[in-house]
């Protein structure tokens, strides 16, 4: 997991989003969501779309598109979707640039970072604002809160990654900016756990399903959820090249509808059991872990695709600090709202 994210604190948009969610929850909402914006379902030609996942085994980027496909939402929109996994945001951007994939299931960091580098990329749909990152410490180590981590070492994936960002914000939040040392240990949670056990680090940052898994095995303890700490965030988005969005706008519309179908399906209580089962399958974890993860994250999904623009702005502004870019890109360089309802509507 390479990507920093800011969990959404649904405050300023709380009302608007509640309305949107309520509308989606109503009987009529789901049907309207499923109907395409232009033309009818009948007589549509099947379009092929390749989707690139920024990383594979995560809930927001890996599981969601796969569930959406599995329950037939893409089929309904006459979309033939192929899913390809990448190894991080830079990789995914290169994949989109070279036409290997059309649409990217990315993090909130990827579109602004690309734009700041002069690569034309736009987020066109918000999947979830909420960050899944948690801080995991060793049980019985005496580390129980983030304050306990000041002056200590915390494992991240790499400098400049999402997990790096989490550490900075956590330190800021307890009034000790820069007071927690980040130690990059790579992309394998097993390495983090090994370092934790050896005492090389006192905690590490990873996504919530790993936290739950470790709590269950007794190897770890979640001491903080990043979503509870950060104010404005936009964790997962869909992105594509502006020229693709322009030339294939009809296909993109259908894709957005399919995603709305998929996310709504996931939020529907009636599908909870099936959703958990599929999550367990796609993440390759125990069902109990999948269930805890599902419960934690599914309500934060935004089927209609609206963005937390404050979250995106916040992310863009820290890019130079994380050495991902030399400048702060403007919102309109990397976001387009033509496919989703505007904030508050």
């Amino acid at each position: 997991m390479q990507h920093s994210a800011r969990t959404a604190r649904v405050r300023s948009l709380g009302v608007a989003l509640a309305l949107a969610a309520a509308t989606a929850g109503c009987g009529g909402g789901e049907d309207t969501a499923a109907a395409p914006a232009s033309g009818g379902e009948q007589g549509q030609q099947t379009e092929a779309v390749t989707v690139g996942l920024v990383v594979d085994k995560t809930f927001e980027h890996g599981v969601i598109p796969k569930i959406t496909k599995e329950v037939g939402c893409f089929e309904e929109e006459a979309l033939d979707v192929e899913i390809v996994a990448f190894q991080g945001g830079a990789d995914l951007v290169k994949g989109i640039l070279s036409d290997a994939v059309d649409i990217g299931a990315a993090t909130g960091f990827d579109p602004p970072a690309a734009a700041a580098k002069g690569v034309p990329m736009k987020a066109f749909y918000g999947v979830t604002e909420r960050s899944p990152f948690v801080a995991i410490a060793a049980p019985g180590s005496g580390i129980d809160t983030v304050e306990d981590l000041v002056g200590k070492k915390v494992g991240i994936t790499r400098f400049g990654s999402a997990t790096d960002y989490v550490v900075r914000v956590l330190a800021d939040d307890v009034g000790s900016p820069g007071g927690i040392t980040a130690v990059p240990l790579g992309g394998n949670p097993a390495d983090q756990l090994a370092a934790l056990k050896r005492g090389d680090i006192q905690a590490f940052i990873w996504s919530t399903e790993v936290g739950f898994s470790l709590e269950e095995s007794g190897d770890g303890k979640i001491i903080e959820s990043f979503a509870d700490v950060v104010e404005e965030d936009q964790y997962a988005v869909l992105m594509a090249r502006p020229d693709y969005l322009q030339e294939q706008s009809a296909t993109v519309e259908r894709f957005v509808q399919a995603y709305e179908c998929g996310l709504s399906w996931m939020q529907d209580e009636a599908n909870r059991e099936e959703g958990v089962r599929l999550t367990a399958q796609f993440l390759e974890v125990e069902e109990s872990v999948a269930e805890a993860t599902y419960e934690e994250l599914v309500d934060g999904l935004t089927p209609r695709g609206e963005f937390n623009t404050a979250g995106l702005e916040q992310i863009a502004s820290v890019l130079p600090d994380l050495e991902l870019a030399d400048r702060v890109p403007e919102l309109d360089e990397f976001v387009t709202d033509e496919f989703v309802p505007v904030d508050g509507s």
Binding site: A90, K117, V119, N188
Partner: protein
């Protein structure tokens, strides 16, 4: 060196550089995928002068050396008796040959778990990769020693270790050296690879970090640096090979 030879030696690199320049300048390829050579070279210059790169170079060099020496010691140590005793060779050479064909990179996560992600795991991984061509090269070298030379040695009274030292080892030398050359290349690949996958320092780590951080220009600069490093390693070994074989041919 005569002009034709020079032209041939420089020809291919110049064509590649030229193609790179044209592709980047014409805008055919997005600079995020393939940055302009001028920018990359400029970045390479600053990378080499900023002083922060040298610890990474040094780490990589020392890990490669350690991995290579470890593999050489074990590989030659096992290869010599295995090559000399026919029953041993028949029993184990096929096994070693088969493992050699397996992409050992899949073992890296296991190695990293056992040895951490510091230098030790890279050295172990590099030694593992380098071991196979060295041991197989040694086995082959010893088994292919001209038996007439061995007989000559024996007729003059050499036996056992003396025979080995005076006849078999020098006779097997050139082929063992060939195995060592292959070994050092694989050690370099594996060490840098391991640093790339999960490391905290070294050329591989620099490559990974630049790549993952949307820093394509810097990544290409590091690629060039890694190429130069590999060329240097290979060149050193070639010189060693040449020197040790100077009397044979």
């Amino acid at each position: 060196m005569n002009p034709t030879r020079l032209a041939i030696y420089l020809g291919v690199p110049l064509v590649v550089l030229g193609a790179w320049f044209v592709l980047a300048a014409s805008g055919t390829v997005n600079p995020f995928l393939l940055p302009a050579p001028a920018e990359v070279l400029a970045d390479l210059g600053s990378v080499l002068t900023d002083g922060e790169t040298y610890p990474h170079l040094w780490t990589t060099a020392s890990q490669v050396l350690a991995a290579f020496l470890l593999a050489a010691a074990i590989g030659i140590g096992i290869g010599l008796p295995l090559g000399w005793y026919r029953t041993l060779r028949r029993a184990y050479e096929p096994v070693l040959g088969t493992i050699y064909a397996v992409p050992l990179i899949v073992l890296y996560p296991v190695i990293a778990l056992s040895f951490g992600i510091g230098s030790t795991s890279k050295i172990v991984f590099g030694a593992l990769y380098a071991f196979f061509p060295i041991v197989l090269g040694t086995v082959s070298a010893v088994s292919l020693v001209d038996q007439n030379l061995v007989s000559a040695g024996r007729s003059m009274g050499a036996r056992g270790l003396t025979l080995f030292r005076a006849v078999v080892l020098p006779a097997a030398g050139p082929r063992i050296m060939a195995g060592l050359r292959l070994g050092v290349i694989l050690a370099t690949l594996a060490v840098v690879g391991g640093q790339y996958i999960a490391g905290t320092s070294g050329l591989g780590y620099l490559l990974a970090t630049a790549g993952q951080s949307f820093q394509t220009v810097q990544m290409f600069a590091y690629i060039l640096l890694t190429l130069a490093f590999a060329a240097l390693v290979n060149g050193l070994m070639a010189a060693l090979d040449h020197y040790s074989n100077r009397s044979y041919r």
